[in-house]
Each structure stands twice: as C-alpha cells, then as structure tokens.
C-alpha cells in the first residue's frame, strides 16, 4: 500500500512488494502482486489463493503498508482512513 487517503508513504512500500514478487517469481513461485488494492481486491485474491492452493504446497503473503491492532488482533490496513 503506497497511498492512504491520498497521502503517499515515503519511501514507497510498492518498491518492496515488487522486489519480493520478482524474487519469488524468479525462484519458481506463482506470484500474485497487488499494488494499491481495494479491500475487495485483497479479499478476492485471498479467496482465489485459498482455492488454488494444493495440499502440501507452501504459501507466503507479504504485506507492505500500515498495520494496526484492534482488540488484540493484528490487521493490515488496506485503504483510506483507519476508522
């Protein structure tokens, strides 16, 4: 996530996401890269991954952006203000 409510993070987390995606892809991983996704994009990608995942496979999720804690649980903040 590079941008929250029109405010860009500096430096851009997207650079990290691209670097990780390219590195994993070059090692033979199937990669799905989401840049500045909506919450719906993320949920759809996660469901697709869940369905496509084969028993015994390995899965990795990399998130670069802001995070937070609510009621003791960790969250990745996807879009906009965190209210």
């Amino acid at each position: 996530m590079n941008d929250y409510n029109g405010v860009s993070l500096s430096p851009a987390p997207a650079q990290d996401a691209r670097a990780v995606a390219e590195a994993l892809g070059s090692c033979g991983w199937d990669v799905c890269l989401l840049l500045q996704p909506s919450a719906a994009d993320v949920n759809r990608a996660l469901s697709n991954l869940e369905n496509a995942l084969q028993t015994g496979a390995k899965a990795l999720v990399f998130f670069a952006g802001h995070g937070g804690v609510l009621n003791g649980d960790n969250y990745f903040i996807i879009e906009g203000a965190c209210a």
Binding site: A57, I78, A81
Partner: protein
C-alpha cells in the same frame, strides 16, 4: 476498521489448512516519516503484536511487537532503489536454495539489526514443525533441487481435483495400514501410488508410513522379514520416481528420495543380526534393486543433502555386511568413490552423513577387493585426516571414533593396508585421539585397537598380539606420547573392561622397546597395574581381560615386588575358578612361577 483491513488471523485461517507451510511477512509497522503522514496516522499505528499462529505457520514482523520501524531505516539500498531494510534482509537470506526459513530469518534478523544500528528487530512467531527439519526441503522457500530442463509444472483444475480426491483416499488407506502395522498393506499402497494420479502427494507419505511400520517391527521381538520383498520393490520404484524429470516430481524429489532411502534402511534392518535372516533380507533387497537405488540417491543428492547421504550410506552398509556379493556389486558401480566423496564433503563435525559414510566404508573394507580399491583411492589419509580434525578442534569425537573403527578394519586385515596406515600416521592419529578425548570410552577402545594392531608384529595383526622376538620395530616407532596416552586410558576407563584389556595389550606391545618401558616405569604404570589387579572386582568378562594385565604385571613388576606376588595370589584366589577364569588362572600361575624362578 475491519471492512478496510485484512486480519492476519484470517490469512492464516484461509491458507494454513492446506499448506504445508504458511508464512506471512508483515512490513506494516511504519513510523510516519513526514508531518502530513503523521497527521494521517491514527491510534492504530503502534506497530503489530506478537501473536499465536496455527501449526506449520510463521509470522515475521518487521520490528519488535509494539514498535515502529524508523523511517530512516527505510533508506534505499546501494543502487538507489528505495527498498526497505526489512525486505532487503529477507530477500538476502530467505530465498537461498536449501536454506530452512527459520535459519534464514535468524540471519535476516542479524542483518536488519546491523543495518539499523539495533533500532529495528525482526520478530518471528513460528510454529513450523520441528520434525519437518529432518526433511531437507520442508522448511525451505526454495528447494535445493536443480532447475533441470526448466520445465514448469502445470496442473489443470480438473487434474488438481482428481489428484486431491485420490490423495484423500490414499492417505486414509495409509493411516489404516499404519494403525494395523501391516507391512504388506503399506507396500501395496506405495506400489499403487507410484503410478497413481496423486503420486506427487502420496508417495513421500507412503514411504514414511512403510518405514515407520518397519521401524516399529524391528523394535519388537516379533520382527519378520518374509514380507519385505514387496516393500523393497515399491521403495525402489519410489526412488526412481524421485529422479523423474517432470517438474511435479522434481518439486518433492528430495523429500521423496529421503523418505524412500530412510524406509529402505529400516526395512533392511528388519533382518536383524542373525546371519541367516540378515542374508535373506539382503538378497531380497539386492534382487529388488536397492543397491542401485542407494547409489543413485548418493550420486544425485550426496553433496546437497546430509540426510539423504546418511540414509543411503546406511542402506549400503546393511546390504554389504558379510555379503561378498553385495560388496562386489556396489564396488563395480563406483560405491567406494561415492562413499569417499560423501565422507569428504560432510567431513566437518559429527553429522550423520559423515558417520554413516565412514561406517559403510568400514563394512566394505572387510572385503579384500573393496579394501584394495579404497586404499588406492586414499581412504587411509581420509580417516587419519578425520581423526586429526577432531583432535585439533577437541570435538567431533563420534566421527573420530568411526574413523578409528575404519582404520582398525584396515589394520586388522592382512595385506598392504596396515603398512600404509602406519606410513600415513595412523598410529600418531590414534594416540592423538586418546589424548584429545580422554573421557570417551568407545573412542578409547577403537584408538587402542589401532595402537595394538600397529605396534604388533605384522605376522599377527588379527589379534593385536605383542611382538615376538627381541626386536620390535613397530614398537620402536611409537614415542613416549603413546605410552602416556595408553597409561592415561587405563586410569581413566576403569569401568570399561574392553579398554582395560586393550590398554594392557597396547602397553605390552609398546614396552617391548626399552625406551618405552623406561617411560612406562617412570609413569608408575606397573605399580598401578598391580594395584588395579589387587582391587579388581571382576565378573567373568573382566576376568577374561585380566590375563594380559597379569602377564604384564608378572613380567615387569611381580618378579621384583613382594607385594605384587601377594596381589597375584589374591587375584588367583578370587578368579581361580568359575566362568572365564581359566585365562586368569593360567596367567597368574605363570606369573607366580616366573616370580619364584627369579627369586
């Protein structure tokens, strides 16, 4: 927040059910770098927390729980790219082929701390299975298997569904076979899985189940070897599948190869130590092609995987024990070269591959042709080098012990090996091992065997008997350090009968040289020996070992010492009858006779 945020727990919940390893790398604890970022930040931006994760999952946080990564730490790399320190550290270590993820993250942690002067700490919440660490690629993001022909594994959704259904059925059947401890059932399921639609998933598990059943059978008195033939055939087929060229097979090649060779070793071990049952098991394994499979595994993965090397070497060892046919078979397929290469590659430390390759070489070197080839290929130098390494670092006693056992085999057998061992410094290596590892009785036993054999006359190498005649050239080659080491071994291992007996034999050989005799006298060896005889509380086994002591005592001490004579009489009274006492009685009588003649 929930509708615009993704719960980390939700990620794990969705992916961990099917994944063998599920990782989340969270670079989400960022300190707002600029004023307008800070204005946009909220109370939520206090970093992430450490949390429980489901089994076989890992959560890597970019900094310690509740902390924020400093914005300055996110400065770009040397190439000017604005890649963050966390991502740089992860990519530098986690994608190394064959690198287990926990170890990689430990290295990434160190790099991150160094780059940020300790202001950012990579934090890991981890439930990856510790048992998976035995399987070389289970914890690696990038397996060791070579890229090969570059073919990509593709599976259509229909094929994936078919595979999943078949795998489910096969796994259930395997569970049932394991519950019933049925070797034939497990072998049949393994054989069926080789060409089945779910072979990629089922084969490694089937090998594991078969191996576990065999191991359980070997641990009980009700072991059997009659049902093993089908198991060997299926395991050989599984090994072949692990060397397949399709990307699907290659993905799990190391895991499958490891499981298959591991199971093969347990199935072979079912033959036990009785020669007839062991021979039947060996014949079944050889007929099924286990020799070729083990060597192929060593050839393909010997350098890359210590676990596979260890299992394959163990298979070779079990196949070749007292079997000239197997020795010839594996020798002709380059086994000696492979074992030497494996031992050299995994030489540092007491790792299973090092120990197993040395043990297999020791078994093979009992065969005259194998021994000849091994000596020509430098097995003696390798074993001596292994001992020297263990002495230099003061550790690795297990590998030194195996190397000494190998030297013992080489010195025991008639032929040029003994002379070559002497020339290569095997005697000095054995003495150095005794000195460097004074508290290891098994190592002491093997080292003393080598000393005995190399200080005996070449005419009697089998027993390590003392030199006959006035001149003992071998004993003259040993220096005072050998005398000191042997005397120390006698003092250190009073509870180990074999070490006591061998130390006496070794000293008997060494003291054939007058300088060594003087050194032994100066060290008080003979007085200690007489005292040891006097206070011995021996059972039959120890009594057998005392003949050498009494002989030495008689020859060097008893004739000159009245107290020694009394000690011998006491020993004779204590061990003069009963099982195993005839050696003691004869030696003591001889000693007393000699004593009275001298008096």
């Amino acid at each position: 927040m929930r509708s615009k945020a993704l719960s980390v727990n939700e990620v794990f919940a969705k992916l961990s059910a099917k994944a063998s390893m599920c990782c989340v790398w969270a670079d989400a604890a960022r300190e707002p770098a600029l004023a307008y970022e800070r204005s946009a930040s909220t109370a939520h931006q206090k970093g992430l927390l450490a949390q429980n994760v489901p089994s076989n999952c890992l959560l890597a946080l970019s900094c310690a729980p509740g902390c924020l990564a400093p914005s300055s730490a996110r400065a770009g790399g040397a190439d000017g790219e604005a890649t963050g320190a966390f991502a740089r550290a992860l990519l530098a270590h986690a994608l190394q082929p064959g690198q287990p993820l926990p170890a990689a993250l430990a290295q990434a942690h160190d790099q991150l701390a160094q780059e940020t002067n300790g202001r950012q700490t990579l934090w890991v919440c981890n439930t990856l299975s510790s048992t998976a660490s035995a399987q070389s690629d289970a914890l690696c993001l990038v397996p060791l298997a070579p890229a090969g022909d570059g073919a990509q594994f593709y599976q259509s959704p229909e094929d994936a569904a078919l595979e999943a259904a078949a795998a489910k059925d096969a796994m259930s059947a395997l569970d049932a076979a394991e519950r019933a401890a049925s070797l034939p059932a497990a072998a049949a399921l393994l054989a069926a899985a080789v060409d089945g639609p779910a072979s990629r998933v089922v084969l490694p598990r089937a090998c594991l189940v078969l191996g576990r059943i065999a191991a359980a059978m070997a641990a009980t008195s009700g072991r059997t070897s009659a049902e093993a033939t089908a198991g060997f055939r299926a395991l050989v087929a599984a090994c072949r599948a692990s060397q397949g060229t399709t990307a699907g097979a290659r993905t799990g090649a190391l895991e499958l190869c490891l499981n298959a060779t591991w199971a093969m070793s347990h199935l072979l071990a079912l033959g036990g130590s009785t020669s007839s049952t062991r021979q039947r098991q060996q014949e079944a394994a050889v007929a099924a092609g286990c020799c070729e499979s083990a060597l192929a595994a060593l050839r393909a993965h010997g350098a890359a995987s210590a676990s596979i090397s260890a299992c394959a070497c163990r298979v070779v060892e079990l196949l070749c024990v007292d079997s000239a046919g197997s020795c010839a078979r594996v020798r002709d397929q380059g086994c000696i070269e492979l074992l030497l290469s494996t031992a050299a590659h995994h030489r540092d430390g007491d790792g299973p591959a090092c120990l197993a390759s040395l043990a297999a070489l020791a078994v093979l070197c009992r065969d005259v042709e194998c021994r000849r080839r091994a000596v020509a290929l430098g097995v003696i130098a390798q074993a001596v080098g292994c001992c020297s390494s263990a002495c230099l670092c003061g550790r690795h006693a297990l590998s030194a012990c195996e190397a000494l056992r190998l030297l013992r085999v080489l010195c025991q057998c008639p032929g040029a090996a003994r002379a070559a061992a002497l020339h290569a410094g095997a005697l000095a290596a054995a003495v150095a091992c005794l000195t460097a590892h004074p508290q290891e009785p098994q190592l002491a036993e093997q080292a003393l065997w080598v000393v005995c054999l190399l200080t005996s006359q070449p005419s009697s190498p089998q027993s390590g008997d003392p030199p006959t005649g006035a001149t003992a050239t071998a004993a003259q080659g040993a220096d005072v350090a050998a005398v000191q080491a042997v005397a120390a071994a006698l003092r250190s291992h009073t509870a180990t009968a074999a070490v006591q007996a061998l130390a006496c034999r070794a000293m008997r050989n060494l003291t054939a040289d007058s300088r060594n005799e003087a050194a032994a006298t100066q060290l008080g060896f003979f007085e200690g020996l007489v005292e040891s005889v006097t206070h011995q509380r021996a059972g039959a086994e120890q009594a057998r070992s005392m003949d050498a002591r009494l002989e030495v005592a008689a020859r060097r001490g008893a004739a000159r010492e009245g107290g020694a004579e009394e000690a011998l009489k006491a020993a004779l009274a204590r061990h003069g009858d009963g099982a195993g006492s005839r050696f003691v009685a004869a030696a003591a009588a001889l000693a007393l006779e000699e004593s009275s003649i001298r008096a």
